[in-house]
Subunit: 219 residues, 2 copies
DNA sequence: AGAATAGTGTCTGTCAGACAGTATCGC
DNA sequence: GCGATACTGTCTGACAGACACTATTCT
């Protein structure tokens, strides 16, 4: 085993799966069932299987398919981690991705008896993470935040139809600060990323207009 | 060989080495000496060697050390490319980096007899590139441009001491558009990334004040 | 009516682009 | 003086933050 490790590195993928629930950015952790790092909390991940995976992103989706029962709308690479010491099995590469789970799909977690799953606050996981996954998590949050800061709208975290207030709360959860309602709406009115619908969401108070992502939208 | 390929992917690194010379953003190409894709132009790259490399970035630096006789100030990951078909040898991963070469070191290329080296315009290479390297190049340029667009200063492309006009020309070469001199200088005066020196570069006309990167500068 | 949320109008300071103007060198 | 490059001053339109205001629903 270690003989091959000297020629070929171990290649794996890890995924930070984000959702925004209860106004907070959350990330999915798993309690590992197998060695190495058994019984420790970590980001979901797995080993690349060339005969199953058509790409590294496909591997990331396959790894998550065991835990989430819906197709994820967005899986995007963050960066790689590599070196001889980060995994006890030897020289290894981990390609890190983040994925966004729509707010109305947060209960699509397949309850796997073998392992425990838990949503935790992305900026305060509350568990010690195995391997270098603490760094994985902070890097993933930074990348997500940078994109939203640059003006990208995280529509993949919302249902297909959403209100502007829902979108604002989602962005606030990612950025960690409150936005001005007036400026925010002005900005979106002149944006080509969202289109207004002739539908309204009836809630406890005044109904709110619904929007959806425009056809050419990309995160 | 192909038997192992089914279990372990081929892992390599490729590097887009940029410099700005003659007011244009240029990238280094090599004419490949060995199979696969022998005699075709490509970005410099090589296979990861776990017994030599401490990380993927170290592998990228090692690959370039054969071509450039100075330590590069910045090597940064762009993204990965992967899949069963992108290399004739089988399932493969390429981790792409870009690197920046200071303007006063553009002649630090080691003349390797075996292979041809050539600086070409980054947005119009003039050669058909092997593998998926054309995509590698455009993605690298996009990433570099995005960072500069976001306000980062590409000081690693300049000598240790530089004038504001040199910096402006460098940024213009990356962005592909001209900047307003007044706005540009106003912005830099309030920036903590550069510090002014009490030295001036004497040229054919009025001497220009020299600047250097501040101590805490990071690209 | 009152609470709660949706949505709008207005003011103002900031700042980037435009561009004219000044300064300092070599010749 | 003249050309060339370095550097500065001023105007203006666009826009983001702040915040008050109106609108529509439920109870």
């Amino acid at each position: 085993m270690n003989a091959t490790r000297d020629l070929f590195p171990l290649v794996g993928v890890d995924v930070a799966l984000f959702c925004v629930d209860d106004g907070r950015l959350q990330v999915l952790l798993v309690k590992r069932a197998e060695e190495p790092a058994a019984k420790q909390w970590a980001l979901p991940g797995g080993i690349l299987k060339p005969h199953l995976d058509n790409s590294l992103e496909a591997a990331a989706r396959r790894v998550l398919a065991h835990k989430v029962s819906v197709e994820l709308p967005l899986v995007e690479e963050v960066c790689t981690f590599s070196g001889p010491d980060r995994d006890p099995r030897g020289w290894s590469i981990s390609v890190l991705f983040y994925a966004l789970l729509p707010r109305d799909k947060v209960n699509a977690l397949v309850r796997n008896k073998v392992e425990a799953l838990e949503w935790v606050g992305a900026s305060a996981p509350g568990h010690r993470l195995a391997f270098d996954h603490a760094q994985h998590l902070t890097t993933s949050v930074q990348k997500l935040r940078a994109k939203v800061d640059a003006g990208k709208l995280p529509l993949h975290l919302l249902p297909e139809k959403f209100t502007l207030t829902q979108l604002q709360r989602t962005i606030e959860a990612i950025l960690g600060r409150e936005l001005d309602k007036s400026s925010f709406r002005r900005q979106l009115k002149s944006s080509s990323d969202v289109v207004e619908l002739d539908e309204y969401e009836r809630g406890a108070q005044r109904p709110a207009q619904l929007f959806r992502a425009s056809d050419g939208f990309t995160f």
